[in-house]
């Protein structure tokens, strides 16, 4: 039953956002291409034994992180999930450092202390996720709480999956945010499976409907349409800054790869994968841009060059010093504050358009 | 199972106890013909130029033949005895005594070899237990440490703890009562406190084997080397403070300073064998250890340059203990590049040590004695002060070096000892 949620949305026509210039649209595609290309490269490195541990990716879900993060201002704060690499790239994390992170190098965001997409670059306003999902919903709510207490026009955003909605922290965060009317945007990345568990074993009621029970707005968007996701996030941010409280955005998408590299996904019907492949978010944005006359081929070449250069740089980077394994558990001296991200959306550059 | 096992005979040979050792003398047999013996169990004791040691049986089995009688000296590699091994035992891995006896006696359990190991281990433990002093007293770590530092014989300390246990306060009270003599400035020496000298007329009719060997070595050294001796006075104030602080011996600091000086003057860290002169970069430091009436042995701290004073102290302690327990292995006495002799505890202040061939020098460290000395303050004013002083003596081989180098070397040792920073 729960899979029914996806069908009407995904079949719906793409909703072009009125708030996007051509350069924004190109950037959205660029972020998705970079995410996919980096993850494919990392997967190759994983198969070559160069990436240790497990490997997770967000193939097919690129629009969810790209669209939502694009709507966040530099001073907003993000807790990004492991299938949302595009959000990191939009915030300004260099591709070489992402690969360094996968490779366990000293140049990775966590200097080898954590792997794959388990990171948050504090320099660009991100707080890294933990594996206990959705713990970061509470952290995001807490950041939003501080913004509200200090009367700052900022918001927090976090991503989490369909499986996360079963945990207590989902309830605690939704309730807390609702009670305190916090400027927070919850992005529920409904990718049909939590590891191997399908939606109908996860919940009896579509989680987006639960938003009402907590006293705030819940919207469902086509998670494979990057501009639709952007528009939902932009609107949610506007509500947050206006003091109208949190928003739950359910972005309906599909996890096109296994839970991790070792997962052959045999529990997913082939037809389901084929059906979703037709709605690939990159293909759709590319078609949209070609129609608008953008030079997508040049963009692809540029992105590929960036990935190649980043790979070379990451592979040349040193491994962390083993002696550093016991350092940095505690903060000594002054705490380093979170920095701001890079403003990508043109709306942040044209005064008053978004703020 | 019931067929009689085929016997294999394994030889026990005179071991090579050091590169230059050519022969050895059987001192005692621990097992007789027909006795079962387990692999690694001592079959006999031997004495060589360099070391007295035990010969472990190479396999488990029964002693089939003894070919060399006690007191006989034979070349290295000579067969001393033969052990008959059960044919089914094909490896020389340790097997059990039980296995050996089974094959020698009734074929009660030809396959009991594996099970026998447990019994063997048990026997070893029992034997070790039996070695513990009959007093059976055990001491806590702190009591042992204080007793060692102050040379207290714990068997003399009355205990008031549970079951007469010696507690820390018992030991402190004992020491406070004056039962322990004030420790002299420099008391530590690997020389064992010796019992009162036996009257000469009660001495044994012939010299011991070790005594004879030492004599021959010393005489040969004097005949070979052009021995000269140079002395230097050293203010040991800093060493005295440091050794109390670190709880290690003065010898350890002298050893450390000597090593530093040897690294600066590698010409003294050398061998002269006939025409062949070899200077070494690493220091294998020999420390003379008295075995009381039995004589003297020089175990070697290999790669001593890599050790701190504390590390050296621990190694000296360990080697001295093992020397007295006759547990030194051939490796422990070979390849020394320089030797320190240290008979300091009796108050003698100078000696002319004899070089340990083929080395080219030997350092003698005697008592540290408080003396009035002239000290000069930073303003250049002289005054008399009481300082712990020792005289270090260096015997060196004029064939290998000249007096100036010997003096420079001693000055370097002095500089290291006087410049010591204690922490």
């Amino acid at each position: 039953m729960a899979t029914n949620i996806a069908v009407p949305i995904a079949n719906g026509a793409s909703a072009d956002s009125a708030h996007l210039l051509l350069e924004d649209r190109v950037w959205l595609l660029r972020a998705m291409l970079l995410m996919r290309g980096l993850e494919e490269r990392a997967m190759t490195l994983y198969r070559q034994g160069k990436v240790p541990g497990s490997f997770y990716d967000g193939h097919g879900q690129e629009a969810v992180s790209a669209g939502a993060a694009f709507a966040m201002a530099p001073e907003d704060r993000l807790c990004i999930l492991h299938r949302d690499l595009a959000a990191h790239l939009i915030r300004g994390v260099p591709a070489a450092r992402v690969l360094g992170q996968y490779l366990g190098r000293d140049t990775g965001i966590t200097h080898g202390r954590d792997g794959n997409v388990h990171f948050g670059d504090r320099n660009v306003g991100c707080v890294g996720m933990v594996s206990m999902l959705p713990d970061m919903m509470l952290v995001a709510a807490g950041m939003a709480m501080a913004f509200k207490l200090r009367h700052e026009a900022r918001c927090a955003m976090t991503w989490f999956g369909d499986g996360s909605t079963s945990r207590g922290d989902f309830h605690e965060a939704m309730n807390w945010a609702g009670v305190q009317k916090l400027p927070v945007v919850f992005v529920l990345e409904n990718n049909q499976y939590a590891y191997s568990t399908p939606l109908d074993k996860q919940f009896a009621v579509d989680p987006v409907e639960r938003a009402a029970a907590y006293g705030f707005v819940g919207v469902t968007v086509d998670g494979n349409d990057v501009e639709a996701v952007f528009e939902a996030a932009r609107a949610a941010r506007e509500r947050a800054l206006a003091g109208d409280g949190p928003t739950l955005i359910e972005a309906v998408t599909m996890r096109m790869h296994g839970h991790a590299a070792h997962d052959d996904m045999k529990y997913v019907p082939k037809e389901q994968v084929e059906e979703w492949r037709k709605r690939d978010p990159i293909d759709r944005q590319e078609a949209r841009l070609r129609k608008l006359g953008a030079d997508v081929d040049a963009l692809r070449v540029e992105v590929q060059a960036e990935i190649d250069a980043a790979t070379e740089e990451a592979l040349a980077a040193p491994m962390p010093d083993p002696a550093s394994a016991v350092e940095g558990v505690f903060c000594v001296g002054d705490a380093e504050p979170l920095g701001d991200g890079v403003p990508r959306w043109s709306g942040f550059r044209s005064a008053g358009a978004a703020r | 199972m019931s067929s009689s096992p085929i016997k294999t005979i394994v030889d026990v040979t005179m071991p090579q106890m050091g590169v230059s050792v050519a022969e050895g003398t059987v001192v005692a047999w621990r097992a007789g013909v027909g006795d079962p013996i387990a692999a690694d169990e001592t079959i006999c004791e031997i004495s060589t130029d360099k070391i007295d040691t035990e010969v472990p049986a190479p396999v488990s089995g029964v002693v089939a033949e003894i070919l060399v009688p006690v007191e006989a000296t034979v070349p290295v590699g000579e067969v001393l005895a033969r052990i008959a091994v059960d044919g089914e035992t094909t490896s020389t891995a340790p097997a059990s005594a039980a296995n050996g006896s089974a094959s020698a006696g009734a074929g009660a359990s030809a396959g009991a070899g594996a099970g026998g190991n447990g019994a063997d281990a048990g026997a070893t433990i029992t034997a070790r237990r039996a070695e513990r002093p009959a007093s059976g007293r055990r001491y806590s770590p702190v009591v042992q440490r204080i007793a060692a530092e102050h040379r207290v014989d714990l068997s003399q300390v009355p205990g008031t703890g549970r079951g007469g246990r010696v507690r820390k306060q018992d030991l402190l009270a004992f020491m406070e009562s004056g039962a322990v003599e004030e420790a002299p400035l420099h008391i530590e020496s690997p020389y064992r406190p010796e019992p009162a000298a036996t009257p000469a007329d009660a001495a044994s009719p012939t010299l011991s084997r070790m005594r004879r060997q030492i004599g021959e070595h010393m005489k040969r050294s004097l005949e070979t080397a052009a021995t000269c001796t140079t002395w230097i006075e050293v203010d040991m104030s800093r060493v005295e403070r440091a050794r109390v602080l670190l709880g290690v011996t003065g010898l350890a600091f002298v050893a450390r300073a000597t090593i530093d000086a040897l690294r600066e003057h590698p010409a003294l860290n050398a061998w002269l064998e006939g025409e062949r002169y070899t200077a070494h970069s690493g220091v294998n430091l020999g420390i003379a250890v008295s075995l009381g009436d039995d004589g003297l042995i020089v175990p070697v701290i290999h790669d001593a340059h890599e050790l701190s004073a504390e590390g050296l102290a621990a190694r000296v302690k360990d080697l001295a203990r093992r020397a007295r327990a006759k547990e030194l292995t051939p490796d422990d006495v070979r390849d020394g590049t320089f030797t320190i002799t240290n008979p300091g505890q009796y108050g003698s202040i100078m000696a002319t040590p004899i070089i340990n061939q083929p080395q080219v020098a030997i350092l003698d460290f005697e008592a540290v004695v408080k003396r009035p000395v002239v000290v000069t303050d930073p303003d250049g004013n002289d005054s008399i002060a009481i300082r712990p002083i020792t005289i270090l003596g260096l015997s060196w081989d004029h064939r290998a070096l000249d007096g100036a180098l010997a003096a420079q070397f001693l000055a370097s040792v002095k500089r290291h000892l006087e410049g010591l920073v204690a922490d």
Binding site: H118, D135, M136, M137, D169, N175, L338 | G161, R162
Partner: protein
């Protein structure tokens, strides 16, 4: 100097911090209008308002999780668990999110979690626990446990000003029973041990309420000179102070009110065994609560919590050893 109870000292530290630093805020269940289950924040909401003395939903994970979020964007939240026992509901946020944050991404999490802990008043299995060892075992979290009014204030100031997550174990049984002179104003007590009473024959190492038990038990012990070392901080553990006491006294009794296995005192014993072995003149003796939930009925509870009598007996035995 002012004479304050342990509880008043905690309140005083919180009030001083709220006044001194606008980044500080209190979060917890019933701490605002009601003033807290133990009245630690009584009257605070009137002075500081509901934003800074926040009555939260009944959600420990959310209290700690949102505090982490607020902390990483510059606030200094002080969370109150109504009872230390309830920290189990917020364990994940504290251990996985807060504790690992700085190590993974260099991001400090300056939060203080106040944990009213300990038994002795028929609180039963869910209102009497001493969960400090859980957090000593989790990297990245500091754990302090004051025994006196002065330390309650000084350690709390230090905890709030520390850039790391700090579990502040405040012993409920001491709230109104312990009184003492407390310096006025803000002062920071270091996370180190303190000699509660010097001695030479034996040292009792304890923290929190057990410091008082230890002092009482050894006040008159057949003339023996007994030292009492108050650890004050469990993570970091003041190994130098522990080893110094052991070196001087050579006999050690370690008292925990917590369940025995892997308690703070077990770690102290391990440190002594490893680094103080050569100073020992007897076995390291531990007195702790057996590995049972804290029972409700007074005779049952008294049977398991370490009493002055039990500590005294352990000391006598060891002194005679």
């Amino acid at each position: 100097m002012t004479q304050l109870t342990y509880l008043q000292a905690i309140s005083s530290a919180l009030r001083d911090e709220l006044r001194a630093d606008e980044r500080v805020l209190m979060m917890g269940e019933d701490i605002g209008v009601f003033g807290g289950a133990f009245k630690v924040t009584d009257g605070f909401i009137e002075e500081f308002g509901p934003d800074r003395v926040m009555d939260t939903p009944l959600a420990e994970s959310a209290i700690i999780g949102t505090a982490i979020g607020a902390a990483v964007v510059g606030m200094r939240p002080v969370c109150e668990m109504q009872f230390a026992d309830f920290i189990s509901c917020g364990f994940d946020q504290l251990v996985n999110v807060a504790g690992k944050m700085h190590y993974r991404q260099g991001l400090a999490v300056p939060i203080t979690v106040r944990l009213p802990s300990g038994g002795g008043f028929s609180g039963g299995p869910f209102h009497s626990q001493n969960p400090e060892a859980w957090f000593m075992h989790a990297p990245g979290i500091k754990v302090v446990a004051p025994s006196t009014a002065e330390d309650a204030k000084g350690l709390l100031h230090s905890a709030i000003r520390d850039p790391n997550p700090v579990c502040f174990m405040e012993h409920k049984h001491l709230y109104r029973r312990v009184k003492g002179e407390v310096p006025d104003g803000v002062f920071e007590t270091p996370f180190t041990a303190r000699i509660a009473r010097p001695g030479t024959d034996l040292v009792v190492i304890a923290y929190g309420a057990m410091v008082h038990t230890a002092l009482q038990a050894t006040e008159d012990l057949d003339g023996a000179s007994v030292e009492v070392l108050d650890l004050r901080s469990l993570m970091p553990l003041d190994e130098a102070a522990i080893l110094d006491s052991v070196e001087r006294c050579s006999k050690v009794v370690i008292v925990d009110e917590a369940n025995s296995t892997c308690a703070a005192g077990a770690q102290v014993a391990a440190v002594i065994a490893e680094k103080g072995f050569e100073s020992l003149d007897g076995p390291v003796v531990r007195v702790a609560t057996p590995d049972v939930p804290i029972p409700f009925s007074p005779p049952l509870e008294q049977a398991v919590l370490p009493s002055a009598e039990r500590v005294k007996e352990a000391c006598r035995e060891l002194l005679a050893y």
